[in-house]
Symmetry: C2
Subunit: 153 residues, 2 copies
DNA sequence: GCCCCAATATTGGTTGTGCCAATATAGTAC
DNA sequence: GTACTATATTGGCACAACCAATATTGGGGC
């Protein structure tokens, strides 16, 4: 359980004011909240399962390789994740008849229900994470982050 | 070399607009820049070495345990890091005569020079990371991040 | 002063994650 | 048809954060 470590410390001034450090700490906080919330949900799933289910819900059935490209998950890790999701009947896998080397992954009705349940879990994390900011500031923060990531002026 | 992975992808909408996801991606970007910059510097040091040297420069000689509390580095990892820093003569360690179980760690003149060199490396990373934002937005971003981390309204 | 507990440094191991290599299989391009 | 590419899977590696066990040493309670 990777809780936000190094929480109440005195960090050198050189370090603690740098955006790269702040972003790293924010990530640790966010990840800690996320993992805790998923654990507390009792679903036995983790954030990357949510990414997979989200991609399937949005783009429909896909091969494992396509799914990996959509979620940034390595093919080898994808195999393991899908075995878990299939065992819990949140997805099904069948060989594509037209392309027999492909596994077509499909989300089940139960998987869609789980996705919606996880939506609430994740929304709760956003609320906690951004609680110190008012609505306007939350929008600003999100917009600035997006700009940094898309590298757009 | 943990470069920012999952860079040019199509991420599910459910995922890609959430602050927790954006923060995670920003962290990956930042970390990639940081590690690359340290590698390119040819110093053979990594970001956590910088944290250690920074703490020593700011608060003076400390025991390893105190240093660990100041930098969020586990005592066992601290030992390994200090062995490296001592081998390169950026710090010295000697047993505290008054408390023989403590190692007093001191930064050397050479270590202080290295610290200043690394300052430039890190400043370059901040410039790259925040390049999409203008000066005002950079200040806003840093302030919002700080508020989130200190949990202050 | 003495005894028990806490602090320190160290070694070694565990866990989780992201990545890569090798392989077997199957489709595609020419 | 041959050579190349894509796919799924297994296994493993590297790295970081963290934890456990140990030996040593001080400090506090009595």
């Amino acid at each position: 359980m990777p809780l936000p470590s190094h929480a109440n410390d005195r960090t050198p001034d050189r370090v603690k004011k740098r955006p790269s450090w702040l972003v790293g700490r924010a990530h640790a906080t966010s990840l800690g909240l996320l993992v805790s919330a998923f654990e507390a949900s009792g679903t036995g799933l983790r954030p990357f399962h949510y990414r997979i289910l989200s991609a399937l819900e949005q783009w429909g059935a896909e091969s494992q390789a396509a799914l990996g490209r959509d979620t940034g998950i390595d093919p080898s890790d994808m195999t393991a994740a899908l075995v878990e999701l299939e065992a819990r009947e949140f997805v099904t896998r069948r060989v594509d008849p037209a392309h027999k080397r492909r596994n077509i992954v499909t989300i089940t009705a139960s998987g869609e229900r789980m996705l919606r349940e996880l939506d609430h879990v994740i929304e709760g994390v956003q609320l906690t994470l951004l609680a110190p900011l008012d609505a306007d500031e939350q929008r600003q923060f999100t917009e600035l982050l997006t700009r940094i990531l898309t590298r757009e002026k």
